[in-house]
Amino acid sequence: MVPTQAQLDACVACGLCLPHCPTFRLTGDEVASPRGRVVAMGAVATGEIPSDDVYAGMLSFCLGCRACEAACPSLIPFGLMLEGSREQLARGDSSVEGKMRRLLVGRVLNMRWMLKMATLGIALLQRFRVVGLLPKRLRSIRGLRRQRLIASRSVQPAGDGSGSIALLTGCVMNEWFPEVHEATRGVLETAGFTVDAPPGQQCCGALAAHEGAGDAARRMAERNVAAFSGYDIVVADAAGCSAHLKEYGEWAEGGESVAGRTRDITEFVAELIADDKLPRSEETRGQVAVHDPCHLRHAQRIVAAPREIVRAAGYEPVEIDPDGLCCGAAGLYMVYQYETADQLGERKKSEIKATGTRLVVSANPGCEIQLRSHLDGDYTVLHPVELYWQSVR
């Protein structure tokens, strides 16, 4: 059962994780630090401390950004331990809010009709310009792309297994960011691949895992293992999804195999560019601020790839933040912990503004939403592969 005793014992309390943790940076409080959370998980696991609201609060305040993992010399798998602990908490949680949240991430995200209704609602809100009137918690809706009222561009399931690449179409990616899928497909086809969107696939289950809806996450993983079987490469163009797919070994039988075959689109495209299977633009187009989604940089340790793609698109990548501190999106965090998310979003906004450029790339939808909801209309936020596709097509 995760966290295991060995995982808990592995922490030597060196504290090297602390400066990388956004909640610690904001509060200076050990209680809001990875080291503190590991101690708490351990104390609850041994029964020394009861699993109560304070414990639940400690774990829910955590962004799950996993920046601590990248800094930990003891190689502690904090992300998995957090998910396991949240699952245990969820089992004991009969609150209405808790149940609603787990329902949202466990079921609703797989109901296409519900997502389409939400999209319609958002499209209307955007046209009637009432987004600013939404309650604070839902302000992140401000960060969505302009949604169409009719004629969705989402990717339909297709593919008979003959394609070389399986694309994870995802839940909100497909509804709210179909342009990214278009770019992904366009780029991969240019490199000579055929891209299938295998039917039977579901939401990857990342948000469910992060929320502690373990059963739902396992269910989704199982379905996806089946849907992706037979494909050599599985590509996801949302960093949160690719990170989670790479951990499918923890979530379903046969998951290890999917994990081994998964690539985030950025690392894949960067490789193709390096191997000259994709073109480089000759032009010099200006600067682009590169935002590193936590699940790309910390969870998958992919840092160079988005920058190489930006360069290949003819732009100069500009650094925002040497530490790669979370922008505050963190899945549903920006809804449920919106004050902290807001602080982090404002920090990220200042860093972006300081670069002087108006173009930002981010390889994750949640981050894109968060960034756009904090930056004003002068800024353009898109996926690095979209930027690349626009410049080389």
Binding site: L16, G28, E48, Y55, S74, P322
Partner: protein, 470 residues
């Protein structure tokens, strides 16, 4: 009113932690001991610190200051149930005087942040303990922190120009400042390294050092540790004080390589990382001399870092040593002793011999230029009898160091860890004098009691200090 209620009246509820889980999370630092925390508070201003101190004094409760809790000697761990003053939020905007090369920063500012955020001015804060990415300047002041670059630059105390401190009475004093040689007794020197026993430092005026125009970092490999140590001596004898001279043995390099995967030379018995800084010409010449000496002493390879990335990787390797060891076994004991450099080879041999005799595996890293040794023992406390063997080996290592003319601690501090060994280096009169000095600052013994000095350091017949009237 209760202690917690009084503290809440000062700070509000959010910044006063008394729930069992919250205090549990605060009951240890990065060392091996834990203690009992009555409450942990997070003040944001000097006035709040002073108010908390007065509350604690009113209740007769001991106070333990804490930074980010990266200390290894138990300095931030209460010996008796205490109020923990968490200083991380003491971080107001810095007051940087570029021309005078100093800056007032809050005690909660992180060591590495100072150097990073002032890099654009061409300045940095010289003391660079391995924990520098995580430790606070307040903590550095408390322990008189070291690090590899202290060889040429000196310990933290040489880089502290001023201190703002809350006294045991809850008053605020300022010691020193940007002007040289403060008038009267210079108390800065005793407060730095006092491990939270003389007052709670809230702001620090740090001396900033010019970034050198050029740096050369060399990695030398050796078949025998003695050759590496001999190289160190020969370099110093040649009149060069490098910016850093760090020695790592094979066991340590192997552990770090497992973590970093940086192609480190895992076959060498020992590696020496040497760094020289200064003008291009000086640096090239000194690096050449160090290389020649290394080869004369038997270096099997000498490599100069080709660029900033490679240099950063070498330092990352060195500074990950402690954490990387954590993968080797569930428990560890990191030693810290200082010996005269001339005794280095001898003491290193004896330390390996002690390790063999007690059957404890060791990984070693040394600030070789300073004679500062960090044998690191990785073990499993669940193995019956192992913890006792490790402790016995540790005590013997300390004795061997002292016999060689060394002292208890080079940079981590006495804390709780070495408190009861103080009698090995100081006689009762020395300890009494230190106790009286401490009593001058803290007559009631409420500031981090049980640290630095063993119980009974005050010779009882001297009683309370007479007041100096005027």
């Amino acid at each position: 009113m209760s202690l917690v209620a009084d503290l809440r009246a000062v700070l509000g509820s959010d910044r006063v932690h008394s729930h069992p889980l919250q205090v549990r999370v605060y009951n240890k630092d990065a060392g091996v001991t834990s203690g009992e925390v009555l409450a942990a508070v997070l003040p944001e201003t000097t006035q709040e610190v002073a108010a908390c101190m007065r509350v604690a004094k009113g209740h007769g409760v001991p106070v333990v200051p804490r930074g980010t809790g990266t200390g290894l000697a138990g300095g931030a761990v209460p010996v008796e149930p205490a109020l923990l003053l968490v200083m991380t939020r003491l971080d107001p905007p810095w007051e940087v005087d570029h021309l005078s090369r100093c800056a007032w920063v809050g005690a909660g500012a992180l060591n590495l942040d100072i150097s990073r955020d002032l890099a654009h001015l061409g300045l940095h804060f010289a003391p660079d303990p391995s924990s520098q990415a995580a430790c606070t300047i307040g903590g550095n002041v408390g322990t008189n922190a070291g690090g590899p670059h202290c060889l040429a630059e000196g310990l933290t105390v040489a880089h502290i120009l001023g201190l703002e401190m809350v006294t045991a009475d809850g008053d605020v004093v300022v010691l020193g400042g940007a002007a040289p040689d403060p008038v009267g007794l210079d108390l800065r020197g005793v407060v730095v390294g006092s491990e939270g026993t003389l007052g709670i430092v809230t702001r620090v005026l740090v001396k900033l050092t010019e970034n050198p125009p050029a740096v050369r970092t060399l990695l030398m490999t050796f078949d025998e540790i003695e050759h590496a140590a001999a190289t160190v001596s020969a370099v110093i004898a040649a009149g060069i004080i490098p910016a850093a001279l760090e020695l790592m043995d094979q066991a340590m390099v192997v552990a770090v390589e497992r973590f970093l995967k940086a192609d480190l030379p895992v076959e060498a018995a020992g590696i020496l990382i040497a760094e020289v800084v200064g003008l291009d010409e000086a640096v090239a010449a000194e690096a050449a001399i160090i290389e020649r000496i290394g080869r004369e002493e038997g270096a099997t390879s000498v490599r100069i870092a080709a660029d900033e990335d490679e240099r950063a990787l070498l330092w990352r390797a060195r500074k990950s040593a402690f954490g990387a060891v954590a993968q080797a076994a569930p428990n560890y004991y990191l030693h810290d002793t200082a010996v005269p450099r001339t005794a280095l080879v001898d003491v290193i041999k004896k330390i390996y011999e002690i390790g063999d005799r007690y059957g404890v595996g060791m990984l070693n890293v040394y600030h070789a230029g300073d004679g500062n040794l960090h044998p690191l023992v990785a073990y499993d406390a669940n193995e019956p009898g192992k913890a006792e063997q490790v402790k016995a080996a540790a005590d013997e290592m300390v004795r061997v160091s002292i016999e060689a003319g060394g002292s208890l601690t080079g940079e981590h501090g006495v804390g709780l860890e070495k408190r009861d060994l103080m009698h090995l280096v100081f006689d009762p009169i020395d300890l009494d004098a230190q106790a009286r000095l401490r009593g001058a600052f803290d007559p009631n013994g409420l500031l981090n009691p049980g640290k630095v000095l063993p119980r009974g350091s005050r010779c009882s017949e001297f009683g309370m200090l007479p007041e100096v009237g005027e």
